[in-house]
Symmetry: D2
Subunit: 496 residues, 4 copies
Amino acid sequence: MSFKREVIQGQEVVSTEITDDIYDLPHEECGLIGLWNQKQAAFDAYYGLHALQHRGQEGAGIATLHDGKMLAHRDFGLVNQIFNRRQSLEELKGKAAIGHVRYATAGLNDINNIQPFVFHFHDGPVAMAHNGNLVNAHSLKVELEQKGSIFHTTSDSEVIMHLIRRSQKESFIEKLKESLKRVVGGFTYLFLTEKELIGVCDPNGFRPLIVGRMPNGGYVMASESCALDQIGASYLFDVEPGQIVSINNEGIQKEYYTEARQQAICSMEFIYFARPDSNIHGINVHTARKNSGKKLAQEQPVEADIVIGVPNSSLSAASGYAEEAGIPYEMGLIKNQYIARTFIQPTQELRERGVRMKLSAVRKVVEGKRIVMVDDSIVRGTTSKRIVGLLKAAGAKEVHVRIASPALKHPCFYGIDISNTRELIAANHTLKEIEKIIEADSLAYLSEEGLISAIDLHSDAPYKGLCMAYFNGDYPTALHDFEREYRAELERIVVD
Amino acid sequence: MSFKREVIQGQEVVSTEITDDIYDLPHEECGLIGLWNQKQAAFDAYYGLHALQHRGQEGAGIATLHDGKMLAHRDFGLVNQIFNRRQSLEELKGKAAIGHVRYATAGLNDINNIQPFVFHFHDGPVAMAHNGNLVNAHSLKVELEQKGSIFHTTSDSEVIMHLIRRSQKESFIEKLKESLKRVVGGFTYLFLTEKELIGVCDPNGFRPLIVGRMPNGGYVMASESCALDQIGASYLFDVEPGQIVSINNEGIQKEYYTEARQQAICSMEFIYFARPDSNIHGINVHTARKNSGKKLAQEQPVEADIVIGVPNSSLSAASGYAEEAGIPYEMGLIKNQYIARTFIQPTQELRERGVRMKLSAVRKVVEGKRIVMVDDSIVRGTTSKRIVGLLKAAGAKEVHVRIASPALKHPCFYGIDISNTRELIAANHTLKEIEKIIEADSLAYLSEEGLISAIDLHSDAPYKGLCMAYFNGDYPTALHDFEREYRAELERIVVD
Amino acid sequence: MSFKREVIQGQEVVSTEITDDIYDLPHEECGLIGLWNQKQAAFDAYYGLHALQHRGQEGAGIATLHDGKMLAHRDFGLVNQIFNRRQSLEELKGKAAIGHVRYATAGLNDINNIQPFVFHFHDGPVAMAHNGNLVNAHSLKVELEQKGSIFHTTSDSEVIMHLIRRSQKESFIEKLKESLKRVVGGFTYLFLTEKELIGVCDPNGFRPLIVGRMPNGGYVMASESCALDQIGASYLFDVEPGQIVSINNEGIQKEYYTEARQQAICSMEFIYFARPDSNIHGINVHTARKNSGKKLAQEQPVEADIVIGVPNSSLSAASGYAEEAGIPYEMGLIKNQYIARTFIQPTQELRERGVRMKLSAVRKVVEGKRIVMVDDSIVRGTTSKRIVGLLKAAGAKEVHVRIASPALKHPCFYGIDISNTRELIAANHTLKEIEKIIEADSLAYLSEEGLISAIDLHSDAPYKGLCMAYFNGDYPTALHDFEREYRAELERIVVD
Amino acid sequence: MSFKREVIQGQEVVSTEITDDIYDLPHEECGLIGLWNQKQAAFDAYYGLHALQHRGQEGAGIATLHDGKMLAHRDFGLVNQIFNRRQSLEELKGKAAIGHVRYATAGLNDINNIQPFVFHFHDGPVAMAHNGNLVNAHSLKVELEQKGSIFHTTSDSEVIMHLIRRSQKESFIEKLKESLKRVVGGFTYLFLTEKELIGVCDPNGFRPLIVGRMPNGGYVMASESCALDQIGASYLFDVEPGQIVSINNEGIQKEYYTEARQQAICSMEFIYFARPDSNIHGINVHTARKNSGKKLAQEQPVEADIVIGVPNSSLSAASGYAEEAGIPYEMGLIKNQYIARTFIQPTQELRERGVRMKLSAVRKVVEGKRIVMVDDSIVRGTTSKRIVGLLKAAGAKEVHVRIASPALKHPCFYGIDISNTRELIAANHTLKEIEKIIEADSLAYLSEEGLISAIDLHSDAPYKGLCMAYFNGDYPTALHDFEREYRAELERIVVD
């Protein structure tokens, strides 16, 4: 895959110039918000997107419905960079809005991929926003192109709209239901039409979507409950797997568009993605993480002087470990607040520099100490190695690495940027090898059972409510376009 | 119709937010260039577009084919503003290219409307560029949307590609031929695929398209021959009405896609649009203009001391008038070279200011003189009034206005920005009224016959090779989507 | 004071258009770095400035010395926004560099005020960077203008260079020493000439400046030791009050330029400004803060269920309080990592919105609890009120606010953005009034003695090493240009 | 001399990083305008600058005086690019303004060099604008720096303000008069203070400056009378050599600041720089050019079929030649209106490409003809060679080049961009050699006497009102800083 740099309106933009392999890199983690019957809805969308900013920093946008027209503004950058003047929100008039924050993998930086997408049809406008990933997008695109459809973005997200527009059903909802039966993967969608705000969750419930009520009678849907708290909305319910929630001036309607549904929410939402103050299906994320630290202390104890967490996402787990183990919890690592988190950096080179610029060890705290260093996960291992090195350079006597989740061994096809196993250290090395590579005095992971009981979703078999495919390769859906290449990878994955 | 201002990548952009009446403003005059088998084709496209810059100053772009991929760069602005570094051309690698300069009516300033359009299909990329206007674009759009097509631009130009993609024919050329039978209007298209460069002219030949050979064996197609001269190409032939010219590595293939064809090239190309050094169907534009001045002197003589032309487009006609009348030709008006021509200015207010800032009368030349002021046309009359006023303020004794074309009374639906008759002074006033409004001592136009014989295309009936519809309402095609509103306007048009 | 908005090179810039009162707003907190004899010094300056980013986010710049010429790049924005391409650092060639991050009060957003300043004199270039504020800048400016000097920036920083250039002394160092005797205030300067890198500290040592050695033999000076850690430099010494440190190819020379010197470093460096991993005069900032929390627990105990800190600057003090009081330390407030800290926001309105968007209470942690909420300081009180409200809205039973520093009652004239007492809640209200305003169940501050013993500088009378003027009005220098207005304010300040 | 590219506020800027040789490239041609007692003076300055745009396209600016404050906006680009919104003019409130358009030689593209310069002194603001060049600027800069002055621009223009500010005289006018005695060269200045608008002309009157009256009682000063016509002002008088014109609320005051004065206005103003509709010292520029063509026909006749001029600056001379010779005047060359004139292009490479992209020969006009090609001057000869080549490639039988001014053999030190003789073809080659180089069938120049009589200033000896130094080396002033290098060049100059 190669890219083209071009200057659009005086700004350099990276876009793709190839068609064939464009479907290879569709992995996205994003955040959605929608509002209905809320005065100056764009303002609430803005504040809500701000609370969801951790779900995507590449770009953002808001579309509003005003007088039968769809207004929109979207751009690369953070929410507060894109909407940097009061006027830019005031111009987005209307009482209904959807918003989107986008995280995209390297390269597909085409402004056309920034959402919400807005369509000006002769029979009325539609805006849509999408979080997640389809595993049969490529097949569907080829099929649709062969029928004469023209795609204008390189994103999976456009597929559903082509299906909808080709449906022979009467209403938008019916067209949508028909179309949803064709797409496979992990996703939530928001659609805004002249008549309603619609939220959709895939049949496995991979991605979260929460519904709330605004103080004045309006409604909100968002990827995380922290967005509801941000704008003063009260929680109503989580959208369930295979469910369509439609909000119009009559109120809320819920229905299922498929019988084949089960709960298998992405466990990384609890481990890493979601904000600690969010609740997902009734479980507080901070509490789940603290519990995972406690479980980890039970499963993988070690004699040490202090417990430290890798800021910021591992601090909850670290304090759980410390509390359970009865070892003091200390601030041994300082994070430079002017850097976005590692997992978000677009290139490997920047990722590596990012870490060095991001964390500092506090010598006065760590010097001469035996340390339990708690982290939420290990992807490539480069970050862990660097932090262990940092602590030792600052005088730590021993560094025992404890990971508050199982080892990442398999790719995710439902929207997380782990597209192949070559970058996953645990797919390519045994535990002992990794311990050596990252130069830790010891290394241990939380068990799958430990993670499940820490999150404690009380959900049924077979998945107990959680997708753990990146840990164990047990994917809740068929893999379609990715089946063949995953089989090839599978043969290479190291079994400990 | 209303518009939305948004800031895309730090630049303010005006885009539309309405669907219904988006089809109302499709009038464009543009310039095209295409190259095949020319090393660093983007450089020739750049220089060629520069020569075509007078055909559109709103935006421009170049797409090149390299290694099976379509590279492209396009933006708002002049060619030399968009491509302002050698590197920006060097990055557009490849031996085939198409380029476009765009003039658009007020408002639809969406970057997505800037051409060439580039499509990344799963079965290979296609780039296209379009000059002209369709009269059935709205109907076709609605029909296509009803079949599930999704349009992404507000431009007519996208319609043909949807038709092509839906065709069941085998080859691109066959799909194109089938699609061309559906579109009605004035147009030339350039298409670039992996296999060929294709040029198309509408069945009436409203817009010019010239084919030439590059010194090294490559080929070029362009809207005007001045672009061929610019890059050192030699003239081969003008694309004929209803003709498809396809250039590939085997050479040039020509064929007609319809039997219903006749020559009716836009007479404004000779009168105003084209560059004086261009030749169209073998007729030099400067010579045609000079001849029109001579005819005008024969038809509308007047006793005067000097003849002056309105710079720059009327200088040829003025010198012809002077030569025929035996009156000295003088430089009585100076044009500020830092202003684009009036006809191009986007708003009425700017048009009016533009004139005042654009022309100066040279007092020492005009003082005390009886002047024949030759201009190519009168649209709203405001410019003429201002120039007459300028000359009188500088001491002119008499100002006799002579127009080197007939009176503009009807709208154009084939690509010229005269979308309704309300702005045409001659559609709303008699000759004597106009004479009074512009405060001329006398006013006269060239006759239709005079114009035809001045251009002298030696073409057959019924149109003698020229579209004169804006003068006489005799449109060479059915008006389709515009039929009804034109009939309404027609009742209002003043008959002298 | 009024400002002018102008568009310079397509970007809106706010600049001043008045001369008289331009001297009213010179309060700045900034960060400096300098390198000598370090290959590709600009890269180290970049990484070092990144570590100092918390000291100023308005703008930044780097100047390097290469082949006798001074190269420079500076702009508005964060360090990684300004230097966003490898090339922009590679173009800043040379083995010596100085860099600057700038924080400025509202309005004086003139690009000319971004440092380092670079001067191209006929006898060789000089670059300079300045942290702090002069109290006699206005007087000196008027005096210099009366002698014919022309100032080009609205910054205090330019004054010293005019003094230097007018000095009759021989060497740059001697001219500098003479000039330093004229300026009064809190400051550190870095100067880079063709021969040397010079660091200067004011006679009271208000601002920190640290000297270190690079691994390869080069040297570095920086405002905080965290910048040395960032680039792998080892600590040598802190520049002392009234000291000039000059580094050239012979090594390091230290000398005092005045006898009247004493240590009175800004206590806010420990309380709020500096990064927790920095050491100042041998004292670790995190440790000082943790100690202040302990002292606070001793001085102001309260019965409670949990202790929480306001992220991020108060977490150290909160953990100290918890440890000393034996009350669990919990994560009850989550900070949105995509907002800069309140104290930095330019306008009151944005400050207020910033807080609401910045912090979230974790309901599951705080619900039903009696809480000790530890914060580092209270400026206007609006933030405290909002956090107390947040916690109560999330179900907190009681909120006891404990401030790990004394009450802010007086303005700072040495470089902190507290320019008058009208904005200081403690200058205008009694303790009980504030407690009521912020709706806390109780409120208490750390005593001055408590703060001094927590930081524990072991320095002599009269200031025990610390400037505490904003707490007690005891300014270590004469106030010069600010004397009169401060006297007026003083009469209004509430005595508890 | 080398330059540094830096990105200031997102725009690439080229600036100098060297001090030593910065004084080598001070040659500028510019345009000035000033208004006093004119409501919304910025609007008139804008329109006036537009009329002066041909005098400089690199950058422009306007400063206005409002309520005792100086407001200003300046930038790179054309006047209508910099002031592209009504608001940007409306914000420049006030009844007094000065404006500037700047042309600068390659490289010194520092925004700080764009004028008017605005100074915010403690005793009141001053704005200034400068056209021309000093021959002792370098000496004065070194002298002033040695006294402690700090220069902030690389432009000569700043020198006078340092002299003024160091003067011990009482009033601004007296300080200015004293300072003007120190500077040597060709210049006009405009100064705007709270009390007055001041215009100054050098003792030789090298640069033009015209004074006019606004319809409503206000006053205007401008470099050319076309700016007065543009804004509807009536002509009062040309500022004379060595004269200061001061306009305040009392009216106009004129005085001479030196006795050593004589008229020697730059002859290139008539030949090339000024707009044809401008009058300088009562002489219409178009008429002077037409006369020079007539003289040329008398002095250098040739048998030919048509006379053509090189657009646009040579059309007047060509029509004069044709009229005098009785040979038809034809339009054989077409200029692309989207290119600025050659002389303005910053680099040699761009100059060369510029010509190729700028002119086209009209084959139908020139084919088979013997042509007299009239041009105003030959600088490097590359343009002439290219045009001759163009005409011959288009079928011209013979091309006889006639230049409507003498041969350029010497550099100009008073503000024209001919900084050394190495680039002047006539300084390095004989007439016959040039004829051969440019491949003309014959080449001839107008004589010095011919030029003087064509312009016909009726001025006294020794210079008959005109500086002709670039033709004959007879410089009206001592050369100061340039003396030595000119002497060296002089030895190399070819004598025909």
